[in-house]
Amino acid sequence: MIRVVLPQHLKTLARVDGEVTLAVDGPVTQRSILDALETRYPMLRGTVRDHATQRRRPLVRFFACEEDVTHDSPDEPLPPAIATGAEPFLIIGAIAGG
């Protein structure tokens, strides 16, 4: 199972505490994780990726295994530790604003 850590506001919106665990079919990539996340928690559609373009929202970032993978291809396989669930995939709200 893939482990995903959401920012606090999205935890509230999805009504979850702690990490989210997801089953992902096929290669584990940013896109496949977000597809699985949005299928299980439809209220999160449009909050991480733009509804129309499916591109990452500008103030959202992705971390994996202590690396910022925000600007990697959404179809690039993530590290094996993410795929095995040893490490969580982090969705982060950028530090900005008031």
Binding site: T12, T39, P42, M43, R45, G46, A52, L59, A94
Partner: protein
């Protein structure tokens, strides 16, 4: 027993204020959606327990929330996970919270509008400013959004579809944003004529549809704006708010960037009614529930100084449909007050005597249970108030 429910949207969440018909003792619940900007909440006249809320964030975009129990509990009105699974592609297909500009209705590309510097700029959805439920069907509501467009839901907020004939008006590429963005912030429905809708856009002006939103035309004749090259142009006016009394749908009142205006012919022609106001700049305007010629504004010093003149928070009331204004000060701070009252942050209830409410950027919500003669703070220390709506529950 009669109850009153005031719905307050703030920069850091929503609050619900409740009282009995006396409107003296209030209970406060919230924050709902803590930490999010709540641009607007509004209840359905057809089902007062149905409330729509616009929840928005610079990080996470637009969420529509819906309550079916008067604001006790909320849900994003999307499909269930099972419904979202498209059998053909395996991809989710829900459209909850999805505001995507449409070009099909107009039959031609709607690609750009005018930017601050005069160049053309792509249309980009940012947020929902205003939600206007249908007076007759709780599952129907309109959403005024930034960049300026009008959307409609017919399924209780589960999906939204643009009424693209508005942006498709030939003047669309000439619309430009005001200081707060290019927002469609006012939606006024004519209860006597379901085909008629009024909207206002900063800074394009007022528009009217007579075919339920399919086609639109500007209704800005009589407006004069010094900040545009042609001061009486067809579009380009920064209309801040339009109000109507439901019993007299052809009479409209407008608070413009500068000037308080009135139309007696459904917006075909406007004339100024500012007269003895200390300043005719401001944001909200509203009409007394039982006296169609009694209107309220909150004058603000100027477009560069968004606070009350002389540090005195004064609501001004005209009982003559404009021009003859009286300051209402009892219970309001008359020194050292430098808050603003935003365009969606004033409302009236339908009780007798009529209640009037407004919220400030300083986090106060004031109420009057006597048509504005006297005021008292309902709550003093909320986050900056973006919108105030009220429901009288009988």
């Amino acid at each position: 027993m009669t109850k009153v429910r005031v719905l307050v949207g703030t920069k850091k969440g929503a609050f619900i204020l409740t009282a009995d018909g006396q409107r003296k003792s209030w209970a406060v619940s919230g924050p709902h959606f803590a930490g999010w900007e709540i641009y607007h909440l509004k209840g359905s006249a057809a089902d007062p327990n149905r409330i729509y809320a616009s929840q928005t964030s610079g990080w996470f975009g637009q969420i529509i929330q819906r309550s079916s129990d008067g604001g006790k509990t909320w849900e994003p009105p999307g499909s269930s996970p099972a419904e979202l699974k498209d059998e053909a592609t395996g991809m989710p297909k829900g459209e909850s919270n999805k505001f995507v500009y449409d070009t099909s209705a107009s039959g031609r590309p709607l690609t750009t509008h005018q930017w601050y510097d005069g160049t053309q700029h792509p249309w980009e959805f940012k947020r929902v400013w205003h939600l206007e439920p249908s007076p007759t069907d709780p599952d129907v509501a309109y959403a005024g959004v930034e960049d300026a467009a009008l959307f409609r839901t017919g399924d209780g907020g589960k999906s939204w579809h643009e009424l693209a004939g508005l942006r498709g008006h030939e003047s669309g590429p000439r619309w430009q944003p005001g200081a707060g963005g290019m927002c469609l912030h006012t939606v006024v429905l004519d209860r006597t004529n379901p085909q008629r809708i009024f909207v206002a856009i900063s800074a394009a002006g007022a528009f009217r549809s007579d075919d339920a939103g399919k086609t639109w035309r500007p209704i800005n004749r009589g407006l004069k704006s010094q900040f545009i090259p042609d001061q009486t142009a067809e579009v380009g006016h920064c209309v801040h708010r339009i109000a109507m009394h439901p019993s007299r749908p052809n009479v409209l009142f407008m608070q413009k960037h500068w000037d308080v205006m009135r139309s007696d012919d459904a917006g075909e022609n406007w004339y100024e009614i500012s007269d003895n106001l200390p300043t005719d700049f401001g944001f909200p305007i509203d009409v007394h529930a039982h006296e169609p010629d009694t209107i309220y504004v909150v004058p603000i010093k100027s477009d560069s100084e968004h606070y009350p003149p002389e540090g005195k928070l004064r609501v001004y009331r005209s009982r003559t449909g404009g021009n003859d204004w009286e300051p209402l000060t009892k219970g309001l701070p008359q020194r050292d007050c430098y808050v603003n009252v935003l365009r969606d942050a004033m409302c009236v209830d339908s009780l007798d005597p009529c209640g009037v409410y407004f919220g400030t950027t300083g986090g106060q919500v004031y109420g009057s249970a006597d048509g504005g003669d006297s005021w008292a703070p309902i709550v003093r220390d909320l986050p900056s108030v973006l919108s105030v709506e009220v429901q009288a529950l009988r």
